[in-house]
Every structure is written in structure tokens, then in C-alpha cells.
Symmetry: C2
Subunit: 339 residues, 2 copies
DNA sequence: AAAACTTATGTCATCGATGACATGACTTGC
DNA sequence: GCAAGTCATGTCATCGATGACATAAGTTTT
């Protein structure tokens, strides 16, 4: 590793002068500048970022903590963050939190020690109060899920609105018995989506049947199982609202295996190939890349202007992408309540 | 930010003693240790990793550079690397190279300045000689594609073998006119897959029709277009070998749109939902997570034993996953050549 | 021509943790 | 009772880059 001192010796100047040349300081004669540059080239000098960032106390790194980097949703979020970060010469350190909430805190703390300049987190635990002590060291932005027991910036999708729209869409296609599948209502996101679902049913004057609320799945396979149970009910649903793309990729094959593609399906969250499945699956699109970008931009803005005030709560609108999966031939029954 | 000096002052000792307590040095009295630990707790001391790693000249970071973090294949590779790295308290810094080969070098150089301890790269450019100068600073491991103009460790899938097997599989299902779709043969991976394809045709005594070699696509959409062109040929293929999952996700919908799911399809590289499409798509599975893990383990092994010798070239076997997409009802024609 | 300023370059200290070595207190052995 | 040894703790220098300040030339002003 060539250091500035090595270059300085070679060029017959002091390390400080090399530093000046490197940083385009105008107070260097053309002659000296050229000698130093020649020395840098000969010795293939490359700055030691670690030294510089250490001195400045900042690492030019944004930490990202998501449940799973390999999940298409978070992979896309990561990409959005990366592109925005790169425009400011920032690198990203990525961590998967996994699915054990108990580990969240320690995983984050390992990341934090690296003097990151900002943290973007999609938490899995039910309490983020442990992050409070870091908040005056660097900005923290939550994505996908709102922070619990902590005040911090967040960018979440419109869970309530999206769920409402999805459910309404199913109702508009004539469905009256609509099930909701997903994980636990302890997940704030899921709770909101359930509320949106319920609100849409109520707005249409449909009754809320608890048998059709099939939450609590842990993964796609569990959702598939839940789905089979639902269809075996005496008064089975004609439509399923999957509250999360992760479960949709379990539910869809289950319907297919049962040869029940007549059951309508709508997914909160787009997923790969959803548009070419048969039937293609209608979804509420969350635009993960955009979520990543705005979260990164907020981090960067907060770094640039630490005292400026920003809107803390940010809800990103979602968009219904209509495909085929809700067009099953259900007779258009009159709604129970009048229009 | 509390420093060791702060803790030291609080506990009435020197910074060095705090360092000793922190690093479990036995030469500290129980009494002092407790006082220091109390001070650490009160001041919420957290070590400054940047200072430590700067002093040691290592950053405890593995750099990862892939064409696109959001691509499911590389997202899975990344996850594999992350899990292996975490076991050694290493973090990962992820970078997308994009699709402009001219930018590869500069993107990598920005990453390298951060004094990474190792680099895992899936290159996109046709020349990696620029990496030579880094090789004695830290280990470099190539994945997915072999290095060009550089000697370095690599872990690649069995491109030739997988392509051979895929093509053979199509032949075994009665196909005689088999097209290959993919990107440019300038990509080493694609070149090898083309060779595997050709070898399989030859082994079966089938002639090689250049009209069926439809390489050069840039993305899924281009592949879809190529696919339509192929099917419009007077003597159209009955089967398509997609040399890359990225293109399969373009080809499949194209076949579907044309209502030509009778055309057999096999993909080099599994992709999300391939198993639930109709027909489900047979693939050559590359096990990206495993690729990531072994690459990371090699980096870690090289860091631990810099002088040890390792096998540089590593070919990871691939596995044919048979699904429905090759079972189209093509009459079993006799092979042109005798068995 | 002396004072005042400008300009190129150098010296030193610093960021936080920690190795190398020093010091001083106390113990052990003969 | 004193040399040698053990142990807790401290001091200093270091990693590489760079701000603050210093110096030594040359230039302008009066």
C-alpha cells in the first residue's frame, strides 16, 4: 500500500503537498503538481479511504437492514438505495435480519459500530427503542414498516388504502366471500392491511366472517396450507386477498394444484412472473425501487442538513395493477346493502 | 460519540486500561474492571470500529460487485455471501455494475478504496487485468464468469455441462430443431453454453443450423422479440434453450402470448415461479446461494492463510430440474445418426 | 527600501484504539 | 533484607490523511 508519505518522498516534497495536489488545492505550482502526479502514477498511489473517513469520523456508508436481501421486494429496495447513494459517493452495507426478532438488536448493533452515516431499516422486531441512542449520531429511516416505540422518519406503502382498494376490486368483480391470508397482525403492516380489508367489506355492507380471516402464516408453504383449509370450508370463499407477495407465491401454486383457478386472487405486492402466470395475478404494486430511493434521499438530505425539519411520516401511494386473476366468472350478485 | 478516553476519565484510569478491559485482557484487577465496565455502561460506550480497523489496515468488509443486486440470481448469491461473512464478523458492501462494461473499472476502484479485505466479483467487462495490482492487497474471487486477462480464483457453474445436459434433454424428448437464445458470445458464460449446446447436437448427430442460434439479446424483451422471429421461420424450431434465466423471463411470456406453449423451453438458471407457470419450466439449477457461500469461504480462507495454495479454478456442478415445459407432444422422430 | 501582503510549501497535532515498552508496587526466594 | 520476579497500570508512538498554523520566499505598496 503506497501512502502519501511514499509519494511525497519520491517527489521530494512533504506529505501535505501531496495531499494538496490530490485535493486540487490551487496553492501548488504547476511544476510541483506535475512532479507529484508523476510520483503518484509511478507508485500507483490510491488513497486510503479508511484513514480519511476515520479522521472525519464518517464512513461514507449507509447501512441497510432488511429481513432478507434475497427477497425480490427488498432486493429492489436495495437497488433503489444503492443508485441514490452512489450519486453521493456513498457505499451501502447490507444486512439481512432474518426472521428471528430477538436477533434484530444485536445484528443492528454490529452494523452500527462501523460508524455508518445513516441507517435504513425494515425492522422485524416489535420494539425499536434501542435505536434511540443512535439517533443523534446519524439519521435513521424506516421503510416498509413503521417504527415501534421510537420516533423516526419512515416511508411506508399505503397499507390501509392498498388493502381497501384490493378488497374493493374483488367486491366489484362480484365476490362476496373474500378471505384474507397473511402473517400475524403483530406485524404493523399486516394489521393495517387487515383494517383496509375490513373497511372495504364494511363500506360495501358485507359482513365480516372471522372464518375468512386466515392470518398467522409464517411462510409461503404455511399460506398454501391455510389456503387449502379455506377452500374446504362449507361456505368457502370465492376470492382470496393475499396480504403479502411472499405468501402469494405460496397461495398461487396451491390454487393451481387444487385446480381452483376460478378462485380470485389479489396480492399486496407485485412479484416476479405475476404477469405471466395463468391466470396472471392482479396486484397492489408497491414500487420497491422508489421506496429505496426516497429513503436514501432522506438519509442524504438529513446528513446534508442535520438541523432541518422534514416530514417524518411518509406514506407512499400504491397502485392496483389489474391482471386476470380477479376475473373469474362469479355471478354478479346484488350487494347486501344498497349502493 | 463516547471514546475510550471518556470512559477512562470517568473511571479514573488510562485509556489503555479501558482498552484492556474491553479486550478481556487478564491483567486487570477485578475492582478496576468493574469500575471501567460501570463507566462504559453509564456512558454507553461503543467502540469505534473505524479507528480500530484503520489501525489494523483491515476493514472487516468484503466487497461484492455484481451486474445487478436486484436480479434474483445475484440477490441469492449475495445472501449466500452475507451468511458466510457474518460467521466471521465481516460485513458486505454491495455494488451493482450495471450493464455498461466501460464503467466496471471505475465502479470497482471506488469500492476498492475502502480498504476492503476481499472482493467477490461477477464481471461484465471483457478485461479484468486492471485488478492485477490489487491482488496482493486482498484476495479476489470471481463468480459466475471467469476472469479475462487475469489469474484469479473463480467459482463458476458448469456452463458447458449444463448446456449439454439441457440440450440433450430436449433431444431426448424428441426435439430435432432446437434454438438457443441468449446474449452475446462475448460473454464467456454464454460462449461456453453455446459450445455445450453444439456438442449435444453433434453427439446426437443433429446438424447445426445457424438460423437457430439466436444470440445477442440485451434483455428479456429483446429475447422475446428474437423468439417471435424464430417461430416465424419457415422451418421453425420446436424447442428453445434459453441460455440465461434473465432471458427466460422474456421468452416464456412471448411463447404464451403467441399461444405456442407447445414449444419446449428449458432455461439455464432457475427463476422465481418457474415451477408454477403453465407449463412449469424445466431448468438447469445453479444454486446461487451455494455459489455465494463457497466464494465467501474462499475469501475468508485466503485471508486466514495468505500463503496457502488453493485450487484456482472451480466448477460447480449444475442440476437439471425437470418440469413440464419440455414435455410437449412432439412425435419421437428417429435420430438422423444411428445410436 | 521598509512595510505589508501573497504564495508555495512545510511542521505539527489530531482523529480513536492499541502495540511496545516503561514504571512502580508488591511478592517470593534465599 | 535485597535481588529477581510478577502484576497492574501508565506513557508514548503509531496507523494515513489533513486541518491549523508557521515559515520562507517573492511581490506589491508607499
Amino acid at each position: 500500500m503506497t501512502t502519501m508519505q511514499d509519494v511525497a518522498t519520491r517527489a521530494g516534497v512533504s506529505a501535505k503537498t501531496v495531499s494538496r495536489v490530490f485535493n486540487d488545492d490551487p496553492h501548488v505550482t504547476e511544476d510541483t503538481r506535475e512532479r507529484v502526479q508523476a510520483a503518484m502514477r509511478e507508485l500507483k498511489y490510491v488513497p486510503n479511504m479508511l484513514a480519511r473517513t476515520f479522521r472525519e469520523g464518517r464512513s461514507a456508508v449507509i447501512g441497510i437492514a432488511v429481513p432478507d436481501v434475497a427477497d425480490p421486494f427488498f432486493a429492489a429496495v436495495t437497488k433503489g438505495i444503492e443508485l441514490a447513494a452512489r450519486e453521493h459517493d456513498m457505499a451501502i452495507v447490507v444486512t439481512s435480519l432474518g426472521d428471528n426478532p430477538a436477533l434484530e438488536k444485536s445484528i443492528i448493533e454490529t452494523t452500527v459500530r462501523r460508524q455508518i452515516d445513516g441507517l435504513i431499516i425494515a425492522p422485524i422486531a416489535a420494539d425499536q427503542s434501542y435505536l434511540a441512542r443512535w439517533q443523534d449520531s446519524f439519521p435513521i429511516v424506516f421503510i416498509d414498516r413503521i417504527p415501534t416505540k421510537l420516533h423516526a422518519d419512515y416511508f411506508v406503502e399505503d397499507d390501509f388504502g392498498g388493502a381497501f382498494e384490493a378488497t374493493q376490486h374483488l367486491i366489484a368483480h362480484g365476490h362476496r366471500r373474500i378471505a384474507i391470508v397473511g402473517d400475524s397482525t403483530e406485524v404493523p403492516t399486516t394489521k393495517l392491511r387487515l383494517e383496509g380489508y375490513r373497511a372495504a367489506l364494511e363500506a360495501a355492507g358485507l359482513e365480516n366472517d372471522d372464518d375468512l380471516i386466515a392470518l398467522g402464516s409464517r411462510d409461503g408453504d404455511a399460506a398454501a396450507h391455510v389456503c387449502r383449509t379455506l377452500l374446504a370450508l362449507p361456505d368457502a370463499p370465492t376470492a382470496i386477498f393475499s396480504s403479502n407477495a411472499r405468501f402469494s407465491t405460496g397461495v398461487f401454486p396451491a390454487l393451481q394444484a387444487l385446480n381452483r383457478t376460478d378462485i380470485a386472487l389479489i396480492s399486496f405486492g407485485d412479484f416476479p412472473m405475476a404477469d405471466v402466470l395463468q391466470p396472471s395475478v392482479s396486484v397492489i404494486d408497491q414500487n420497491p425501487r422508489h421506496v429505496g430511493r426516497v429513503a436514501a434521499e432522506r438519509i442524504l438530505a438529513r446528513i446534508a442538513a442535520p438541523t432541518k425539519r422534514f416530514r417524518r411520516k411518509n406514506v407512499i401511494p400504491v397502485k392496483l395493477i389489474e391482471r386476470q386473476s380477479c376475473q373469474s366468472s362469479v355471478p354478479h350478485l346484488p350487494l347486501a346493502a344498497s349502493q
